[in-house]
Symmetry: C2
Subunit: 202 residues, 2 copies
């Protein structure tokens, strides 16, 4: 009994240590050995819980998606007409306050989906928060669903582009007018809103 509790603790400790190692060494340059070294355990010990690095990475990415979806869901519980805007703001807040998690979810290749279907499951769940909201707005017929999905892809890709550009610091180098860097995010969200209103009218 005590042993199995310790094993559970070891699994959690591996996940936590891997996140720290990734934060220190970057998403692509870490190894199971680094994790063992950080925990001061034998190099073989992490393999009792994760067959290889990809399985440990998949566990981390899965948890990022669960955390991310919970954050979006929590922050967007407002009046329906404001829900989309609130969800967009929550998305951008998550990206800027948790850049490493964001990069693990959206900026690096996922572990093989065939081997790690759970990662995909939780990723699709996060996307569905947006898709289902838009389906509620437009309707559930195949035509409406398609419209909702095209809008969801537009919204998501625009937010994702802004989030990654903010994280890259490239705006520092573009010699932008005063205020542009600070206002770019809000401006883009306003433009997304204008596009959606205009599209709805057509």
């Amino acid at each position: 009994m005590s042993k199995s509790i310790n094993e559970l603790k070891l699994k959690e400790a591996c996940v936590q240590a891997a996140r720290e190692v990734i934060a220190e060494r970057g998403v692509e340059a870490w190894s199971m050995r680094d994790v063992a070294r950080k925990l001061e355990i034998s190099h073989q010990a992490p393999y009792r819980h994760f067959p290889n690095r990809d399985h440990l990475l998949a566990e981390i990415v899965k948890r990022c998606f669960i955390d991310f979806a919970a954050f979006l869901d929590e922050k967007s519980k407002v009046e329906p007409q404001d829900e989309l805007r609130a969800m967009g703001q929550a998305y951008m807040t998550y990206a800027s306050t948790k850049p490493l998690e964001y990069r693990l979810m959206f900026g690096t290749p996922w572990p093989d989906p065939a081997v790690h279907p759970e990662v995909i499951k939780y990723a699709v769940h996060a996307f569905d928060l947006l898709r289902q909201h838009l389906i509620q707005v437009h309707g559930t017929s195949p035509e409406h669903k398609k419209k909702a999905e095209l809008e969801a892809m537009f919204i998501w890709s625009s937010l994702h582009g802004m989030a990654t550009i903010e994280q890259s610091n490239v705006m520092n180098h573009l010699v932008l007018s005063n205020g542009v860097q600070d206002e770019a995010r809000a401006f883009s969200m306003k433009m997304i809103g204008l596009a959606l209103s205009s599209h709805c009218e057509n």
Copy 2:
């Protein structure tokens, strides 16, 4: 004389070999040693032209930006009212036909800008194709310039988001309705256009 021609050839050969090595091993996992090995030259030889890996990478990224800007400029030489759309289409075409170059420019940390100012210079030049077009449309007053730059950031970030999502293949996993994946790019570009028209009217 012959020696200096050979040295020039060696520099070019290093750049070419590094691009191949990056294509094979990924953007973050290559070394100067790999380049030397591919060229079957001594491990020290590439250092005659590039003090370290970052300098060689900077040369490659700089060339990507030059190539990219030339491509955008060439493809968008159409009627002024269609120029923005043509530039957007050229951007997306470049991203999907040259994914490695695109990743080197926009998907990986740049070499230290303080050490490699040329990379920044050519990156800003590429952004200026868009910025200057919008300044021509709106006017050159500080207020108009700011508006142009905010629009440029919105356009660029939306295209960048779509380009990276297309490259990631994540759409394959979202169980989208028929046609959504194929139409997402054109739809997003239409939405960007709607946002810009709507913003102009305000």
